[in-house]
Symmetry: C2
Subunit: 206 residues, 2 copies
Amino acid sequence: MVNSERQGIMMPRTTTARGDAIAAAADLFRRQGYAATGLETILAASGAPKGSFYHHFPGGKEDLAVEAVRLGGRQIAERLEHAAAVTATAGALVTAAAAAQAADLRESGYELGCPVATVTLELAGRSDEVAGASQSAFDCWAESLAGKLRAAGRTDAEAARLARWAIANLEGALLLARAARDASIVTEAAEITARVLDEGTAPRDQ
Amino acid sequence: MVNSERQGIMMPRTTTARGDAIAAAADLFRRQGYAATGLETILAASGAPKGSFYHHFPGGKEDLAVEAVRLGGRQIAERLEHAAAVTATAGALVTAAAAAQAADLRESGYELGCPVATVTLELAGRSDEVAGASQSAFDCWAESLAGKLRAAGRTDAEAARLARWAIANLEGALLLARAARDASIVTEAAEITARVLDEGTAPRDQ
């Protein structure tokens, strides 16, 4: 059987329709959650025809949740990679990442928090695929930080543990910032985390 | 006009019906999110008659979201107050809170994470009431920790900042733990946070 997606002329259009649906879903899930977002809304936002939806996503809407988490994971990973290239330490990388996330929050009227967290909390309890995609995203982000920590002399185990802890802090700060509608929660939390990562001490009386 | 809720004999039943609906909604929202949980499911779980629902919750299902966040906020606040009474330091309090949350995760097959986070991420962007209830819950939890930090000689501002940072860390760790289905993420993150709060230093090579 020939898969039409693999036939030259069809590929760009098909790839775009699939990618457009994922991008539209990811944006909507990030702002308002998975369950609140109907398939019709996603299709309308993406401009994709309904007829091809189950061709691209045989598992239905849950496939979109997995792909949205993967997309969000890659977007933040790319942001971290770019920041890692121009920062010297793990703390500086955390500070840069927090500043970018805080800007997303402010510029979106506090709608754009973490692109992975909401779908994870909604679906991780009942979808192994979503839980796995979310775990991969968090692990990937932590690895960016762990590289900096190893370069600063931390052991592999210590770097992994501290990196995951720092990602957890950033995630939690994004949650608190959405509730308070105050992005400074993210940058202030990152300031403390950065100091701990780089200097091994918590700040006092700044 | 006499409110039937205030008439002796009616009060217990009415109060119970409202409280039962809130408790059932809070449990369902915590496991699977707000939008995924239909009103019929909540009423079936609580045993409350549908007829009185809009009497108790004139704002409809969104009222339940606010009340569920308030209930979750109080439950964790009580847990923190009890733990604060038997722990000496902020770090010990974080460790105790993390152990309790990790136990909730494990015992529920990773369905019972933070009782506030999921609804917050789903609704904070479009409901001032939910955002406010979530912010109050996070602030209340942080205040338990801040009290310990002030008792240990931190300034008010420093205690408030570190306490919020520690709550953010616990929240993020609960999120990562649900994705990985590994509650040790919560206890390990708390170990680092506790050390920073109590000793002012990050652990090395434990």
